[in-house]
Amino acid sequence: MIDRWFFSPVALGRIAIVRTIAYLFVPIDVFLITPWALAHRNVPVELYQPLRIARLLALPSPTHTIVVGLCVALVGCALAAATGRAPRVLGTLVAVLYLAWMIVAMSYGKVDHDRVGYLVLLAVLPTVGPARWGDRTPSERAGWAIKATAIAVVCTYFLAAWAKFRFGGIDWLTGATYTKAVLRRGTIFSDWTVHVPYLLVLAQIGTIVFELASPVLLFLRGRWQTWAVLFLFGFHAMVYAGLTIAFWPHLVALAALLPLERTGAWLRERRWLSRRGDPVPPGAART
């Protein structure tokens, strides 16, 4: 029973697609989403405040050379890994280097919490071994890798609710956290919400309810799981529209839960792709 749950097989083709997405995301993250990590290269090491993990592993202080070297190694390995070659070696290198990169990013007095799911995804991807695009072979290794990522994703929601009670107390539910967030970072999509009485308090209660309910995701199958994941994408799209905050690495991990291996078949069913996989030319019959 537990065995079936942990290792319910997933097609190897999914792993191949997820690898491409996850590894190509690395340069996007380094240069566009988290560019302030690389900016730490100019900061003298006196301002470096090593995290516990850096102290335990006795990691060297990030000098200019180390930060730039780490960046080059990480991006190089990620691009090589995105080709799908040597998945175990390159995948392990990317996972280790990305973790080191994050330690440099978060060791200057501020820690972000949007990447546990992505870190877990990077850590488990190499364990699957070779996987080719379009390979429909069901695999227990692939199944576990996706399940472990799903658990990390669910933890991010569920334990975030727990953290709100720990740090904000039960008053968080009826407090002004969202009001303040909208006042600080509101957009044309959200500014009106502060004028509607109780709306943002309701939104806070709704957030906690769905965060506490998130473990359900681990027990849904097939179509239901896909709908649940799409609901979560909807939630993040709403937060982005309202506050221009997006947890990009988390979204990459979330995408791994979608049946990506069926995208080709799905498009063909709707005749957006011809049988060979080429796009249907415009004007072609779509009956």
Partner: protein
């Protein structure tokens, strides 16, 4: 169907449970120092609508006497990182020399700094909106040699 050996399965179940335990324990007792583990505290504090908002910034005075605000891109440090190190900087203002050094390295063609200050602005709120009253206090001042 590609299956796993019993040992492969045991290792994977063990690793999963260990990771889960780490996340739960750090959520209960951990701090930000435990990254990449929990606690996941995004927007986790409770705010009151009438309490003033603290907003911190770095300012510099150039050798030409001009006062400038040091943005994140000027120093390579995020505002939140300075907030996180506030207490440390207060205890040891010499750390602001390092901030000036970072600024000089990132802006080699601009006039050098002779002073770096940490300035805290308190913005008064009533029912969650700014009343228009605010107060700036320089909490740390450092002459750069």
């Amino acid at each position: 169907m590609a299956t796993l050996t019993p040992t492969g399965k045991r290792i994977r179940i063990g690793a999963t449970l260990l990771g889960l335990l780490l996340l739960i324990v750090t959520t209960l007792f951990g701090t930000d120092d435990d990254f990449p583990a929990a606690p996941f505290r995004m927007y986790s504090t409770t705010d009151e609508l009438d309490a003033p908002v603290r907003s911190l910034r770095l300012e510099g005075v150039t050798v030409e006497g001009e006062r400038i605000v040091l943005k994140d891109s000027d120093t390579g440090l995020r505002r939140a990182e300075i907030e996180g190190q506030q207490a440390r900087i207060k205890a040891d203002p010499a750390l602001l020399d390092a901030v000036a050094e970072a600024y000089h390295e990132r802006n080699p063609s601009k006039p050098r700094l002779r002073e770096v200050d940490v300035v805290v602005r308190l913005i008064e709120l009533r029912d969650g909106r700014p009343t228009g009253e605010q107060q700036d206090t320089t909490t740390v001042r450092r002459e750069i040699s």
